[in-house]
Subunit: 416 residues, 2 copies
């Protein structure tokens, strides 16, 4: 893969946000790592070194079998797949169909994967036993929400002992885009050269229906607003306006697990913008950091503009309005957000009709770091009680000895 060089970045404490880098070539052939006029090549070997340590978590809710098959086909072979489903059980058990699809793919492709259903009572019990009661709702099950699905996926990823974690939404009609996201993750994590790094994707365009024809929109409806306020957060500190953040709502992103295990994930659609806020809170140098090792290192955030259009199902206006406001809620409530920005957020939300005058934006739910979990207890709980917990090993069908992606005796000790 060949990326345009990134020359500029903005620093906030240990966090270094790099300006958006374009993908120039999806496939740079057999070229070795290197620079040339304005671009950087990440070689096949370097990509593979990351991929073979990467878990791709696919949060999934009620997608059709053929869309899921397409997404799976785009994930590079050496990545381990983790499917976290919150699909309906009625009138048909969609999770069973999803698990079958995944199992069949693993058998055909000789691959390994893990899957679990978010509403499995055994999953809730396992998280409770492992030390994260916060994740459990009033019905005794893990709460619904995208952030919650991502947290589950991160915990499963951590148990495999792999080093990197990437997220790919299941509602993607373009397998080639999924492939590009994974390659961009690997390229970015390779280039970042830090044990605490993150790669966030900005898609090139999004096809939308407008007046009965297709229009390739450059900006998402909610990301413009999220990015604007995150940038305003930064500008208020530096005194210089900035547009460096272009990936506030990036559903597609990846990180080292060393970083991921320290992050506090937010619930629902607040999860993606809150990752930025949590980086600022924990590693911004404003509050005291619980991680002096990270502060002594640096936390690069690479932002990559992919080539493929981001082509997915239209979830409707309500979904978008929800995402937009959840992002503002987390910026508003962050202890590192300056008072002038907080006031401006209230003014904006009132003007948008999203808030009554005189009220405060609601707080989003924020979970403790996955690194605080006892992963061995989590595994034991899953293994014993979570009926939806499956480990597929497609290599077994090719005559190898079956080896599940997670092995009890080699689950890493919590690092936080």
């Amino acid at each position: 893969m060949r990326l345009a060089d990134s020359f500029r970045s903005e620093r906030f404490g240990a966090v270094r946000i790099h300006e958006l880098q374009r993908v120039i070539e999806l496939d740079s052939g057999a070229l070795g790592d290197g620079f040339s006029a304005g671009s950087r090549v990440v070689s096949f070997e370097a990509l593979r070194a990351v991929e073979s340590q990467m878990v791709i978590v696919v949060p999934c809710m009620n997608e059709s079998r053929s869309v899921i098959e397409g997404v799976l086909s785009g994930i590079p072979h050496d990545c381990l797949i983790v499917l976290v489903s919150n699909s309906d059980k009625l009138p048909v058990d969609r999770y069973e169909i999803e698990a079958q699809t995944l199992e069949q793919f693993c058998r055909l492709a000789g691959r390994s994967a893990i899957s679990v259903h978010q509403k499995d009572p055994g999953l809730a019990a396992a998280f409770k036993a492992a030390g994260m009661e916060e994740l459990i709702g009033e019905d005794g099950l893990v709460r619904a929400g995208k952030g919650e699905a991502m947290l589950i996926g991160m915990a499963l990823a951590a148990m495999t002992g792999r080093r990197y974690l990437g997220y790919v939404d299941a509602d993607n009609y373009v397998p080639g885009a999924v492939h590009e996201y994974c390659k961009a993750y690997a390229a970015g994590l390779h280039l970042a050269e830090s044990p605490y790094s993150m790669v966030r994707i900005s898609w090139h365009s999004k096809p939308k229906l407008r007046d009965g024809r297709l229009f390739f929109s450059r900006r998402g409806r909610s990301s413009e607003i999220t990015n604007e306020w995150l940038n305003r957060f930064l500008a208020e500190y530096s005194g210089f306006g900035t547009e460096v953040i272009a990936t506030g709502n990036a559903g597609e992103h990846a990180m080292t697990l060393d970083l991921g295990l320290k992050l506090r994930l937010a619930g629902g659609f607040a999860v993606e913008p809150y990752e930025y806020m949590d980086l600022f809170e924990q590693f911004g140098g404003i509050l005291e950091s619980a991680s002096p090792d990270v502060m002594a290192s640096s936390v690069p955030v690479l932002q990559i503009e992919t080539r493929n259009p981001h082509f997915h199902d239209n979830k409707g206006e309500e979904h978008v309005q929800g995402m937009r406001m959840q992002a503002l809620n987390v910026v508003y409530h962050s202890p590192v957000t300056l008072p002038s920005v907080r006031q401006a957020i209230i003014d904006f939300m009132v003007a948008q009709g999203a808030l009554e005058a005189g009220q405060e934006p609601p707080r989003e739910r924020v979970y403790p770091p996955v690194g605080s979990l006892d992963l061995e207890l989590l595994y034991d709980g899953l293994d014993a009680e979570a009926l939806s917990f499956r480990q597929f090993d497609g290599r077994a069908s090719a005559g190898y000895t079956a080896a599940p992606p997670i092995e009890r005796h080699s689950i890493p000790r919590p690092r936080v």
Copy 2:
């Protein structure tokens, strides 16, 4: 890349048409070549060996700069790009914009490319000098048409001395699909293991607007009819109904140049279905073949169903109706088509309102093989007279000695 195995094929003389094979994984990582339960892996190294000998010809007509950039970004680095444009010169010279886009891409990506405009008087003069006056229309220029653009591209490809040729339409909104086509070409040409082989793509689905929402159609409007009649052609000989041909109209296809140089290409949109008919005519064992070496070998045609949706501009109903009828015209007029099929074609066309009762379908234009050209004369003509003929060498900017893709002293001698 991992493909589903193809177990069945239909033989017609030396031509062996393999049933459609699905792509299972876009990227099979570091796996070596091999079989496993129902699938075949083509390794990175094997793909690259083909790509480094492959020319990708991009016929282009009035596409926007950003669409062309996307297509270029999807073509694997080791492939040589040939852009054949028939874009408008007025009110702005679109070819100049295209050539600039290509030049800039080559500079950024350190790549080589060739471009030419179909209506360049110097191009017409060069083809005339090289021995293909048939290509020239009444206005003294090369005729318009997709087949004609493909022929020009093939001649340029032949001059580079590379071994493989693939076609990718410029009107593709999904760079990842372009990437998958090229990988599928390389995988198929590797698996075909014959100096005379062809790979044809059937896309997974085509997003269409229907009643204001998107619908993923599995079949193109004209390909169903083209495939039906090509299969009927075969069935009439074998006495067994067949659906083996799924790629009669495949714009995306590739072949060895050893085969390509022997083919007679048809003009316009007849070019793709006529490739099948010409294979049957030349290598079907019905007529005497001018190529005993090919007859002694075999001509595998691999058909690959790619994963990505084929997402391009809607060219309208007239275009489709034209394509459909051109396919029927070439089947009708082939000397190897049996009389019963010819009569059925007439009946069908009359019923469709595409032909007056009692008339014959029109003949499509068919050109002599590119292998009959004097390539050195063609090069000299281009070099001396074709102002639109450009060779870009992006490696020069990285400090290498510039080496144009075509070098006069190493143009291969015609092989036909």
